[in-house]
Structures are given as C-alpha cells and as structure tokens.
C-alpha cells in the first residue's frame, strides 16, 4: 500500500471542506468536553463531600474505649503514620458560680491538634486556639445559654476554676452524632490533672485520633486490627463508618453522582457517534468515485479511516481541554452562588477517560459504515445516494464492531460505577432503550405510510412523507434524541426526588429538643406546658430499661466466651432501652419478617422487632429466641422482624421494639421530643420545664443539628449543581448532533426553492417533520425515563417513587422546541442564499 499517497489524498480531501469538518469535529469536542467536565466536577465534589464528612469525625481513624490504651495495642496504633491527638472524656458536674447552678457535662481534655478536618467553631473565633494557651475552656453554646453565661464568666470543674474563653458552636469527634446528650466543655489537656477528676475508678472515655496520609488505607488497617481491639473493648471508627450514619443522604448523593457519570458517558458517545456516522455517510459518494478510478477498497478504507482517526484524536483532545477549562473556570464564575467551595483540580482520570472514550468510540462507530463500504460495488455506490437497507449487515466484522462497542461501554461503565452488576444493568437498560426507540421509529414509519393522510395540504403531506422517505432521519434522530431525552429526563426526575428527600431530612425541620426521665404521671402536665409554648409533640415514648440475659438457648456469658461466635460485646452488655408500640414510625422501615404490634393475651408468645445491625452484632436471626431481664423478671421473646432506622432523623433510636400488651405495667419513664422555633423560646421553655419538673433533663440538639444541616445543604447543592450542569451540557451535545443531521435536508430544500417553493412553505415542511420527530422522541424518551428513574430510585436509592410531572413537562417542551428550532434554523441558509450557488456546491 502506498501510504504516502493515501496520506496525501486524505489530507487533500479534508482540505476542501474545513467548514464542514469543523462542524463534525465540534460535535466530538462537545461530547468529550461534556464527559470530562462533568466527571471532573463529579470527582471534585466527591472529594469535597469526603472532606466534609471527615470533618464530622475530625480525623481518619478514631480509637475509643472506656480505658486508656492497653500496652499490647500500642504497637498497632503507633504503626499508623501521620498526625495524632488524644482526648479524655469524662462525665462530671459543672458548677456555675454566677447563678449557683450546676449541670452534668462532658469534659473533654484535648491533647494535640484535633480536629484534623473541619474545625471547632467558636465564638469568638479565636477561642478555639486560645483556650489551650490561656488555660481556659470552651463551653457548649446551649449550655451557656441555659445558664446565661458569657465568654469571660467562670465555671468550676472538679477542684479547678476556669474562665470561659468562648462558645462552642459545633460538635465533632468520636460518636457525637445522636449520642451522648450532655453538653460539652473543652479543657486544655494539661489542666486535667488539677481538676482531680481523674481518680481510680472514675469513668473516663479515651479517644485516640489519627490523621493518615492519602496512601494509607484506614479501612484496611481497621480490618486487620479490629479483632485485637475488640478483645480489649476498644472501638475503631473510620470516616466511612461515620458516613454510614448519614447513610441515606450520602447514598443518594453517591448514586446520583454515579448516574451523572453515566450520563456524561452517554453524552460523550452520542456526540462522537453521531458526528462520525454522519461524516462517513457523507463520504460514501467520494469513496465510490475513488473506487471507480481504480482505488482498491482497502485503500479507500484507509484514507477515510485515517481522516476519521485524526478527527477523533483532534476532537477528543480539544474536548478534554475544553472540558477541563470549563471545570476549572466555571466555579470561579458561579463561586458566589454556591454555599461551598468547589475544589477545582485537574482530574486526570476524567481526562484520560475522555480521551480514550473519544478515540475508541470514534474508531468503532466509524468502522461500521466504512466496513459496509468495502462490500458495495463501486458502481452501486456511485448510483445510490443513500445506502439501502440490509446491505452489509450480515458482515461478521460489522457485528464484531457492535459487540466491541458494547464491550467498551461496559468497561467504561464498570470503571465508573465500580460494580459489575451495575454496569450490566445499565448496559442492558441502554440497549433496551435503544431497541424500544428503534421499534418506535419503525412503527411510526409504517403507520405514517399506511395511514397517510392524502387529503392534507401539500406542505403537511411533504413534511409527513419526509419521515419515511429513503434516507430519512427518523431512525437516527428518534434514537439519538430519544436516548438523550431519556437520560436527561431520568436525571431530572431523580434529581428532584433526591432533593425532596434530602430536604425532608432538613435539619431545620427536625425536632431539636429531647426531654428525658419523665415520670409517667408528669406526662400530662408536661404535654400541656409544651403545647402552651405552641411547640409540637413530635414523639412521646415510654422507655423500659432491661438487660439481655441470653439468646438462642445460651446465656450472654456463654456467647461472649465463645470467640468464634463473633458477638459484639457492646451490643450484648449495654443496658437496653426498650419501647413498645403497635406501629412502626416514619423513620423506621421493616426490612424482614413481620411486625407484630399487639399481644392479645398475657400468656401468648412475645414477638419483638430488632434493629438489623444490632441483630447482626448479636448473631440473631428471624425466629430466634431472646431472653430479657426486666428488673429481675425474665421475659422470653421471639424475634419476628428486623427494622432499619434512618439515622439522620432526630428521633430516639430503639434497637429493641416490643409490641403493646407486655410492658405496660413495667417500671418505666417517658421521653418527649419537641421542636422549639428559636433559641429564645428554647431557653424559656427549658427554664420553665426544669423549674416545674426538676427530675426531667432537657437536651438541646441544636449544635448537632448545625453540623448535620451543613452537610445536607452541601449534598443538596451538589446534586442540584451537577444536575443542572449535566442537563445543560447534554442539551448542547444534542443540539450539535441535530445540526449535523439537518445538513442532509438542506439540498432538498434548495431544490424545492428553485421550483418555486416559498419561504413559508419550506419552513412548514421542515416544521412538520421536526415537530413530529421531536414530539415522538421526547414522548418515548420520557416514558422510558419514567421506568428508568423508577428503577434507579427503587433499587439504588431506596426511597419512595413519586412521579413529578413538572420536570417531565419541562423536558418534553424543551426537547420538542429545540428540535423544531434546529429544524427551522438550518433552513435559514436555504431561504437566504442563492439557489444556484448551493446547487453547484452540493453536486457530488
């Protein structure tokens, strides 16, 4: 083969049509740019949210327990590279000289630079640093409000008097979220001793915080050391564990970002494929002429393959640069509107992915029409202005191309989602969508042909007939537009459902006060008092404390002695707070078995419901027997169901739930959950409640809620931003593919023009065709997207699916109008330019 000659021809052929080439390339560029930009954003947002969730824990690894680190464990702990800090936490009475008050508080003595992520937010801001140097303390803001304390006031802890440096506004560290309700006081570590609070036998919790370098796998370390630490009753927490606490919100975000990545992939494909496909199609007649002049089919193949390869490489590189640029500069433009800093770093994985996808898809999609050309005789190709159905489709090489496309897509999907199952589901989903759209296009072609309205006006008939004429674009447009609509509308629907769901978790709407230790006979008065403040009774629950005696026929001791049984000590040993109800509440979900709400007769078997994770920790299955000790009385029960409890909701969590009819007469106290509209009301309410019911303790959740709210807000903005950005880029990509396809209709319109068609006639013909295609593609695409979003929501996100018509309507209108607009816009040239010029130009 004379490569030099072939190169020269390829270049010469390209030279004659820079304008068109530019248009073709621009579609590749946009597709790849969309992919790179969306994925880079995605990457960076994940990083940002990661950092955010790290700031709840404040460190990568936290080891905690109620004794100081046993000597045999310190080698393992010391092996962790990076920064360290430690914290002693003890419950103690704080005495407030100013108003002679006192309150149980959690004293935290900090040594080292904790937190490594996020920061202690204080008022004044400098207090978070100054308290260590000044030997002063930080006190929880709710606590300070309760006792009307100001920075500078005094507080006595143990034997030592302290000055309050500032208010502590947030809540970080080991196990803070929704646990341990006593207010926190931070003291410098070196002051701990002089309080004389650390005595033999005093209850102290120890926490060891570690920040590790990026390359260190905290979870792996945990896996390796879990067993040894558990033996010593020490717990290990990593950021991932912490994140599970905001499971639902993070799951939504993760699934959504996965979906977004997938969308970007498809957009990239649509951009590249449509452009390459149409490019090659337009080249068929030139190829035929080369063949007629004696060029071998392989040589012709090489010429155009070279051209497309260069086109693909060029387009992908420009696309990757453009995408990265958008990703780097867009946040600078929108920065002010975002409630958080979007990290702008070049994302090399996204860039590499964009480049490789651009190249692979270009080659594969170019091969399909090019391979078909090899089979067609030169004369035939020269004659036909359009390829006839069926030619070459039996070529095994073509089928291999299709297969290769599917394989390549699967690999990309796998690399995006990290799960073979997900990749497989997505691929099957896409293929199905593809197939359905193809079927619809065939159906339309048949139906229009069969029921052709012969009595309509000429322009309408002409527009309709364009749908089924040879070389029609019904199939390609319906499939690409329909697929585009499907992914955009799926994205839109899922986005709005996620937002609804995340907003429902809105910390602002959550209850912010919990009242503990209420005697049953106080409940009536307390409820009246609460109502007099116009505050809702969000939850009122009775609590019975009991201990676990044993389960599945063995005592607790026997279980714990059995090292093979894998029973968690904390779960077995804890004093269990149990409530009884006849229904599940809104934050609970039944995931296995059957919930039994009532026990009719005193002698009947008692069926209880367990938190799923708790049951797992105790190695208990459905139907297993469990024995509780309620104030000396043994109760035998059977586990009939497992529940999942939504963590982010500020409700009291019950690992064990009894039915009605068992515990009504057991010794118990009540818990009341309510929501104060603002801090003033909160303070007033608390003061009155504590005065009237001295035994009741009031817990203020607002600092926990602040942290939670912050994260939820970020998640919801991340979702909104990514959705908006992806939808926008998607529309641009679709637009460019549409413009490409429209090229083909221009020549026909010009001929009509020379035969005397008026501007409005030509516009109407085009409008009819494009309106129909737009409506059909949008309609079918939306139907598929409803199914797709239902699948995503049910199997990935796990919350209730509701159809939202507004986003659907918006997508529909947008797609239809856009199609129509493009159809009409491309006839602009026809109407304005002189026909002879266009006709001469297009003679091929």
């Amino acid at each position: 083969m004379n490569w030099k000659f072939l190169f020269r021809i390829a270049l010469a052929d390209a030279k004659t049509q820079w304008g068109k080439l530019f248009l073709f390339i621009s579609s590749i560029v946009l597709g790849i740019a969309a992919l790179v930009a969306i994925n880079s954003f995605n990457d960076n947002i994940v990083k940002d949210i990661d950092r955010q969730s790290a700031s709840i824990l404040g460190a990568d690894i936290v080891v905690s327990g109620n004794k100081s680190l046993p000597a045999n464990l310190s080698p393992a702990l010391n092996a962790i590279p990076g920064q360290k800090a430690s914290e002693y936490e003890l419950l103690s009475m704080a005495y407030i000289p100013k108003n002679e008050g006192s309150q149980f508080v959690r004293i935290k003595a900090l040594e080292g630079n904790f937190p490594f992520y996020g920061k202690l937010i204080t008022q004044p801001e400098t207090a978070s640093k100054d308290f260590k140097a000044n030997g002063t303390v930080l006190a929880d803001k709710a606590f300070m409000r309760q006792f009307s304390l100001e920075p500078g006031d005094k507080i006595k802890l143990g034997d030592e008097d302290f000055i309050i440096e500032g208010r502590l506004m947030n809540n970080l560290g080991a196990g803070n979220l929704a646990s341990g309700f006593a207010p926190i006081i931070y003291i410098p570590f070196d002051k701990l001793e002089s309080t004389n609070l650390v005595q033999p036998g005093s209850m102290i919790d120890y926490a060891y915080y570690h920040q590790v370098p990026k390359e260190f796998d905290a979870n792996l370390w945990k896996e390796e050391n879990k067993q040894a630490f558990r033996q010593e009753s020490m717990r290990i927490n990593t950021i991932d564990d912490q994140r599970e606490n905001l499971n639902e919100a993070f799951n939504s975000l993760n699934s959504f970002l996965n979906l977004v990545a997938l969308v970007s992939l498809l957009l990239g494909c649509i951009g590249v494929a449509s452009s390459v496909f149409i490019y090659v199609k337009n080249k068929i007649s030139s190829i035929a002429i080369f063949r007629c002049l004696g060029m071998k089919s392989n040589e012709a193949f090489v010429i155009y393959f070279l051209q497309i390869l260069v086109l693909g490489i060029l387009g992908s590189v420009i696309g990757a640069v453009l995408g990265s640029a958008v990703q780097l500069f867009l946040p600078k433009v929108f920065g002010e509107f975002l409630p958080f800093q979007v990290v702008t770093e070049l994302s090399w994985p996204s860039i590499i992915q964009g480049l490789s996808l651009g190249l692979i898809i270009t080659v594969l999609f170019a091969l399909i029409p090019l391979l078909e050309i090899r089979k067609i005789s030169p004369l035939r190709t020269l004659r036909s202005n359009f390829s006839e159905e069926g030619t070459g489709t039996r070529d095994p090489l073509v089928w291999m191309c299709y297969l290769a496309i599917i394989v390549a897509l699967s690999i990309f999907l796998y690399s995006l989602t990290g799960s073979i199952l997900n990749a497989a589901i997505f691929i099957v989903g896409i293929l199905l969508a593809f197939f359905v759209l193809y079927l619809v296009s065939q159906l339309i072609i048949r139906l229009v042909r069969k029921f052709f309205p012969r009595h309509w006006s000429f322009v309408l008939r002409q527009g309709l007939a364009n749908l089924y004429r040879p070389n029609n674009q019904t199939q390609i447009l319906l499939v690409s537009l329909g697929l585009g609509t499907t992914i955009l509308s799926t994205l839109f629907i899922v986005q709005s459902l996620i937002l609804e769901n995340v907003n429902a978790m809105d910390a602002g709407a959550q209850p912010n006060m919990i009242l503990f230790g209420i005697e049953t006979n106080q409940m009536h008065d307390l409820k009246n008092k609460t109502k007099s403040f116009d505050m809702p009774i969000v939850e009122e629950v009775p609590i019975v404390t009991m201990r676990i005696e044993g389960w599945k026929g063995r005592t607790k001791k026997e279980w714990l002695a059995d090292t093979t049984a894998n029973v968690r000590r904390w779960a077995a040993n804890r004093e269990t707070r149990v409530t009884y109800r006849d229904t599940l509440d809104s934050s609970e979900k039944l995931i296995a078995g059957e919930f039994v709400g009532n026990i009719e007769n005193p002698g009947d078997s008692i069926f209880i419901s367990l938190d799923e994770g708790y049951a797992e920790n105790l190695n208990i299955g459905l139907g297993d027997e469990m024995v509780f000790n309620v104030q000396g009385m043994l109760l035998t029960t059977y586990v009939s169901s497992f529940r999942e409890i939504e963590f982010a909701s500020m409700r009291t969590r019950f690992f064990v739930l009894f039915p009605r009819g068992v515990l009504e007469n057991a010794p118990q106290f009540q818990v009341l959950v309510t929501k104060a509209p603002n801090e003033d009301v909160m303070t007033k309410y608390r003061t009155e409640v504590v005065k009237a019911f001295p035994n009741v303790s009031v817990v203020d959740l607002s600092s926990i809620l602040t942290t939670l709210n912050d994260i939820l807000k970020k998640i919801s903005y991340a979702v909104q931003f990514m959705a908006g950005f992806s939808i926008l880029t998607g529309l641009i990509v679709l637009l460019s593919s549409l413009i490409l396809s429209k090229f083909q209709r221009v020549r026909e319109s010009v001929l009509l023009r020379t035969l005397g068609a008026s501007r409005s006639q030509i516009l109407k013909i085009n409008a009819t065709e494009y309106l129909l295609i737009g409506v059909l593609a949008a309609f079918t695409g939306i139907l598929i997207s409803i199914l797709a979003s239902w699948l995503v929501v049910n199997f990935q996100l796990d919350f209730e699916y509701k159809i939202r018509w507004m986003p659907i309507l918006l997508v529909f209108l947008f797609i239809v109008l856009m199609t129509l607009f493009i159809g009409l816009w491309t006839t602009r040239d026809v109407v304005n330019k002189s026909p002879l010029e266009t006709l001469r130009k297009d003679i091929q």
Binding site: P470, L751, R753, T754, G756, A757, S834
Partner: protein
C-alpha cells in the same frame, strides 16, 4: 420558421448584465455586459463552448442567482429588486427549468418529483397530470422509481416532465438532450417545440447540438462570457 410577432410583450429583458466570481482573491468575469430581449413565444438557442457562461446566464435569467451588475427583467419585474420569496413565486407561476445535471430530489420518486411544482401551486388532480406528463416522456411505468434507479437519460426525461408540469410560460432548458440517444432526443425536442406551438411557451435552450439550434427562431452565441453573435434563423 418565423414567429408572428404581433404580440410585443418582452418576456425577458437583459441590460448590461455581468457576473463576476471572486475566488482566491482573483476575479473571474464569467459574464460580461450581456444585453438582449426575448419576446413571448420566441424560441432561442444559446450556444457556446464549455465554460463560456451558458449555465450561469440561464441561472441569472431564472433568478436562481444574483447578478454582479446590470438588470434582468422577467415579465416586466426587475429580479434584482425582488426578494427570494417573490422570485420563487414568479418562478413557480411562469418558469420551468431543466438542469444540465437534472437536479431531481433523490428521496422522491419520479412521480413525486414531477408533482412538486403542481403541489406548490396548489393545483388539483396533481397525480393524474403528473402521470400524463410521465407518459409523454415515456416513463409511465417507472413512476415509482427513485432517481438513483433511473438511467441518466431517464432522469433527464423526468426533469423535463417536471419542468412541463406547471405549464410554464417560459422554459429554460440547459442541454435538454445532452444525455439522450438520437431517437429519444428527437422525441424530447418535439415535445419542447410542441409546447411552444400549443401553449405559446417561450423556449430558451442551451445546447451544443447545432441541429437543435437550427430549429429555433434565434441563436445567441457566447464566448468567454460575451455575446459574439445574435442571429435570427430564417
């Protein structure tokens, strides 16, 4: 053959017409100071060597392109002062065009191609008229074929039928018999001249065929964009 010139309406009136193409910053004068008038019912042949500007001239006359300078008056209307829509309407009403390279719409069948001008006019019994025309050019049985399924000569005949379909008062034919064998060519010629006789259609034919040129009333010879002779056939 001499036409009776009692009806003195100017169908076409060209004054100082020039066409200059600019490409690669070089000016190419394709038509230079063309002047002539054509009366109703006249048959005119435009002859000249390849590249002399015949197709360009025809295009200008039919309002398919814009002149660089000078005026073209078609039925009294100055084409230069009309917009594209008005020119399209004028074409549809009065003008038929047979292209050198046929210019059939590839995605329409032969029949559909022929019906277009009628459809654009909003005529009735479109299909019947189109079929009759196809019959006259001998392609009745090929009416449902697409252009790429027809031979060059057949395509040319379809384009002829299309040009006739709106019964134009003025017909431009760019080498209408160029691709045809003698016998079919003669038939087509006969069709053209019959139309002229029956409907008093003005014919302007570009041709290399001197025999065909001999049958017209008048022969205009072009060379390098200029009229070198304008003679009446006696």
């Amino acid at each position: 053959m001499i036409n009776n010139n009692e009806n003195n309406v100017d169908v076409l009136d060209l004054k100082a017409l020039s066409k200059i193409y600019v490409s690669n910053e070089r000016e190419l004068t394709v038509l230079n100071d063309i002047n002539f008038t054509i009366k109703k019912g006249e048959t005119v042949a435009i002859v000249g060597p390849s590249g002399s500007g015949k197709t360009t001239l025809l295009g200008l006359c039919a309002g398919l392109d814009k002149a660089s300078s000078g005026t073209v008056k078609l039925y009294g209307s100055n084409l230069g002062s009309l917009n594209e829509d008005e020119r399209a309407l004028l074409r549809n009403k009065n003008v038929g065009f047979i292209f050198q390279n046929f210019q059939l719409i590839p995605t329409l069948t032969a029949l559909e191609n022929v019906t277009i001008p009628l459809e654009l006019q909003g005529a009735s019994q479109v299909k019947e008229k189109a079929l009759e025309l196809l019959d006259r050019v001998g392609l009745m049985d090929r009416s449902s074929h697409y252009p790429n399924q027809l031979s060059g000569g057949e395509q040319q005949r379809v384009s002829l039928a299309r040009a006739f379909s709106n019964e134009p008062k003025l017909l431009f034919a760019d080498e209408p018999t160029g691709n045809l064998d003698g016998e079919t060519g003669d038939k087509i010629e006969q069709l053209l001249f019959d139309l002229n006789k029956e409907k008093d259609t003005t014919l302007i034919i570009v041709t290399h065929d001197m025999e065909l040129a001999g049958r017209t009333d008048r022969v205009i010879k072009l060379k390098s964009g200029k009229i070198v002779s304008d003679t009446l056939n006696k």
